[in-house]
């Protein structure tokens, strides 16, 4: 019987071809939007999680300040626009003070409150005065037995002068331990030309691929960093995060500096992701050397530790907290897992909000379907009368109309699913590189497919429910009399 009704419903859809297709189109648009957003959203999440998995979940970062350290308010969205892409114009320090004026070095260096109060907030001056209490990683390894490796990565913004070009650039300062144990964390720290640091006592610099290109650096060249001459000993291969970096450059935002304020932990997750994984635009100076010759210029330094296999991450975090206290330093340990959770949470939120907006399109499609079905009931009043006069029960008429609208929903859903999938695949392939999101593929899994199909059928049936009920309640004599 259901089959018979299904056949009748199909005939109905076919006999009102144009209107049926327009109705289906309404559903299709909504489904397309939702499918595209969800598949891209899931794809981005997977890609981000993969990035963290690449770094390793056995890693604990020690952020350079304590949560709730009073002054520990990390300033968001610092945009040192003048620091890059303006080589040759010799930016004065004042312009940095403007662009990064809200930057609070006291908070980042982990200095005490009184110290930060004494310090002026202008960055140009404070760069030379902030004295970071860096963790002693060797001591840390002794203090916390769960840790098997530890290294430090600092970041500074420094005036650069190659003789022909000058300006400001990010200088990353990994410690020797960091390079030995965690260079993979940097993502693309691969020497293409020259070699790695050979000495802790000489002024040596390694240039990121794009930094080297912009500054036209060759092995053996001399670069003045903060007026101190450094010799270029290595040039890195372009990293696979190139698309991201190029995006940054176009916008004039210095990579790794688009800090996102994060009050809960006081650590910028953005920095962790970008600062640690983008090596393109940086110069690298050994931390041990930088701390001697570029004294007090660390804007921020992160200590990275690896926990022994099998040891509890949270125990290790507790032990690190104790060790930080014993060293009289400040810092907050945060595991990669926590960072990943936090970012995933934020991504989920964004995805949910976007999908909700797309869902509005679905509702509109549903209303369109309801409209079509209601019109159909009015239009087919006589036909309903005929059906009833030749023996159709109320329930059969109802089911007929429900199948009718459900089918239109389902067809719209299936087509929307295809179109949405194609759009998200094409979108990420064609637009991805220019948007700097090349490194992921949208995910269309069985859950999405099944969910969308079931939902669109339900949407259709639900939209058709009221018209169907109206149809089923028609009095056959009146219905036949209507013209």
């Amino acid at each position: 019987m259901k089959l018979n009704l299904l056949r009748l419903a199909l005939k109905n859809i076919g006999s009102r071809r144009t209107r049926s297709w327009l109705t289906i189109l309404g559903v299709l648009v909504g489904v397309t939007a939702v499918v595209a957003l969800l598949s891209i959203g899931t794809g981005v999440q997977e890609a981000v999680l993969q990035q963290f998995a690449d770094i390793g979940y056995d890693i604990i970062l020690i952020a350079p300040m304590g949560a709730g350290a009073g002054q520990g308010r990390m300033v968001a969205g610092m945009r040192p626009d003048g620091m890059q892409g303006r080589f040759g114009t010799q930016e004065p320090a004042e312009s940095n003070t403007e662009s990064g004026g809200s930057f609070n070095p006291g908070a980042l260096s982990g200095s005490s409150e009184t110290e930060s109060e004494r310090m002026p907030s202008g960055m140009g001056e404070s760069l030379t005065r902030a004295a970071p209490t860096t963790l002693d990683t060797d001591l840390l390894l002794e203090q916390v037995p769960q840790l098997i490796e530890a290294g430090t990565l600092g970041t500074q913004i420094q005036p650069i002068d190659t003789g022909t070009t000058s300006g400001f650039l990010r200088v990353s300062t990994p410690s020797m331990d960091f390079l030995n144990a965690f260079s993979s964390v940097l993502g693309g720290f691969e020497i293409a030309d020259g070699g790695s640091f050979s000495s802790r006592t000489q002024n040596q610099v390694i240039a990121g691929a794009r930094a080297a290109e912009q500054l036209q650096l060759k092995i053996g060249d001399i670069v003045d960093i903060s007026s101190i001459p450094f010799t270029v000993v290595g040039i890195l291969a372009p990293s696979n995060g190139a698309a991201q970096a190029s995006e940054d450059r176009e916008e004039g935002v210095l990579s790794g500096q688009g800090l996102t304020q994060n009050l809960s932990t006081g650590i910028s997750t953005d920095l962790v992701l970008r600062g640690l994984t983008n090596t393109e635009d940086s110069l690298f100076v050994l931390n041990e050397r930088a701390s001697e010759v570029l004294v007090g210029r660390n804007m921020m330094s992160v200590t990275i530790t690896r926990v022994e296999r099998g040891a509890s991450i949270s125990d290790a975090k507790d032990a690190i907290n104790v060790a930080i206290g014993q060293q009289d330093a400040t810092g907050t340990p945060i595991s990669i897992q926590e960072v990943a959770d936090e970012i995933q949470g934020a991504l989920s939120l964004i995805e949910t909000v976007l999908a909700s907006i797309a869902a509005v399109a679905l509702v509109v499609g549903g209303v369109g379907l309801m409209n079509t079905m209601y019109t159909a009931v009015l239009e087919r009043t006589r036909e309903i009368g005929i059906l009833k006069s030749v023996g159709a029960h109320d329930s059969q008429v109802m089911i007929l109309f429900l199948i009718d609208s459900g089918l239109m929903g389902l067809i719209g859903g299936a087509l929307g699913l295809m179109l949405g999938s194609i759009l998200s695949l094409l979108g990420t392939q064609l637009l991805g590189p220019s948007l700097g999101v090349g490194a992921f593929t949208p995910i269309i899994d069985a859950w999405l497919v099944g969910g969308v199909l079931a939902f669109s059928f339900a949407l259709g049936a639900a939209s058709g429910a009221w018209p169907a009920w109206r149809a089923s309640r028609l009095n056959p004599v009146d219905a036949l009399a209507s013209e």
Partner: protein, 141 residues
Amino acid sequence: MFQKYNLVSNLTALENVSLPLLLRNQSSKEARALAMESLELVDLGDRVTHRPSKLSGGEQQRVAMARALVNKPAMILADEPTGNLDTVTGNRILELLRDFKMDDKLVLVVTHNPEIAELADTLVHLRDGRIESHLTQEVPV
């Protein structure tokens, strides 16, 4: 049966006739066979795939007749079955109704046409909803 045939316009003659069977949960194969049989009974075996709009008034009414017969009913109610038809095609419908009656079944016809009234065994005369007369007559076969 209705004066205006009341066929479903987007279904073919065969589908229209099988509709009552389909609604009674008969398999579509059976329904087709029975509907075919019924259509042949009204001499429309060659018009099964036509839609109502491609059929003449008389043919449409014969499809309606086939639809009424397909269930093998004990009684047919017909409301002005020939009202929209010319005399020749109307007579064909009347013949079919008479054949049905010959099978010892009941046909109840509402009509304004005295010629049709002459064919009935029992004649009930209505005026403005009230019965005026009720008589039985001998019908020539």
